[in-house]
């Protein structure tokens, strides 16, 4: 067995994932190869350290808040769907009336209707763009309360 393959198999050996045959082949190689024995020892230390580093756990209060936040997000998801449906319905209704009662009404001067029409389109595009950006940035915007 070549040392390169032995180093690869060392991973499975340290993780207890080798089949019997590969394990025996590797052990045989290790018996006769001091360099690979040093590698085994180094990787054994590395895996032991990585296994034991751990991390600071959130407190019980934070865990409770964690579930409450998930529950709220589940509930608010439904609310957002209804709110969006309502807003779209009202917007369509408003646009319909704006078109029918004002933009297509020849009683108003053409220049006024064109001005209002372009301004309305611009406002809608801007509003959609701002809302879309806020939604996209909201999860990463943890600095919104920073005062300068």
């Amino acid at each position: 067995m070549e040392c390169e393959k032995a180093c690869l198999l060392l991973m499975g050996h340290l993780d207890g994932e080798l089949d019997d045959r590969s394990r025996l082949d590797l052990e045989q190689h290790l018996e006769g190869c001091a360099a690979c024995r040093r590698e085994e020892s180094a990787y054994r230390r590395l895996t032991a350290m990585t296994d034991s580093i751990g991390f600071i756990e959130p407190t019980e209060t934070e865990w409770r808040a964690h579930w409450e936040a998930i529950y709220n997000r589940l509930e608010r998801g439904v609310a957002w769907i209804f709110l969006s449906l309502g807003a779209v319905t009202l917007l369509l209704y408003g646009m319909w009336h704006l078109a029918a009662d004002f933009l297509l009404d020849a009683a108003y001067p053409l220049i006024l209707r064109l001005g209002v029409g372009f301004a309305a389109i611009g406002t809608i595009v801007l509003a959609v763009s701002v809302v879309r950006e806020r939604i996209r940035l909201y999860p990463t915007d943890r600095y919104e309360e920073v005062e300068l």
Binding site: L8, T50, R73
Partner: protein
């Protein structure tokens, strides 16, 4: 496993209490995985919440005969990598307001311990792909079969990817931890 299946079936019928049980069972594990990928406590809590919400919305498509966590882990990892992508793409407010990178600051991740801090720093410097496989093996304690399923790669590839990741981690720690440590 049978009990979990019953709980999942209740979730699929819309029971939020049943989903609460699932969250309670896996939230620590999910947090640990997210923390090791993202390197920040607040981000890990936020993204693991987001992953649970996505899992609840998709739970009707989940095959309840299968174990929940490997399926959930794929949602979680996608949420973590989306988060990192969004963070990279976030518009920078300008030189004067440039926000320092607060990821993988060991003092926020582990109790004061020099070796742990150094290992965390080393993990933080790995490429995302290398870090993830270290997380799955050492933090999530997954077998090679479970890792292969979670990453959708052949089982044989797991060993070689772990070798590469550990070799890089070893290089990061080289000279910072003496042979007697650990």
């Amino acid at each position: 496993m049978q009990a979990e299946r019953q709980t999942i079936l209740q979730c699929q019928k819309g029971s939020r209490d049943a989903f609460g049980e699932i969250v309670n069972r896996y939230m620590r594990r999910a947090y640990g995985a997210a923390l090791a990928i993202l390197g920040n406590r607040d981000d890990a809590l936020d993204v693991s919440q987001e992953a649970f919400v996505k899992a609840y919305r998709a739970i009707r498509r989940f095959d309840a005969r299968r174990p929940f966590y490997p399926w959930f882990y794929r949602i979680l990892r996608n949420a973590c990598f989306d988060w990192l992508r969004r963070r990279r793409n976030r518009p920078r407010p300008g030189l004067l307001m440039d926000i320092p990178d607060d990821r993988f600051r060991p003092d926020t991740l582990v109790d004061k311990d020099e070796i742990r801090e150094v290992v965390w720093e080393g993990i933080g410097k790995l490429a995302e792909k290398d870090r993830e496989i270290i997380v799955l093996r050492h933090f999530q304690h997954m077998s090679y079969r479970e890792i292969a399923a979670a990453l959708d790669i052949p089982e044989g590839t797991v060993m070689s990817r772990l070798f590469t990741a550990r070799k890089r981690l070893r290089a990061e720690l080289d000279g910072r931890i003496s042979p007697e440590d650990g």
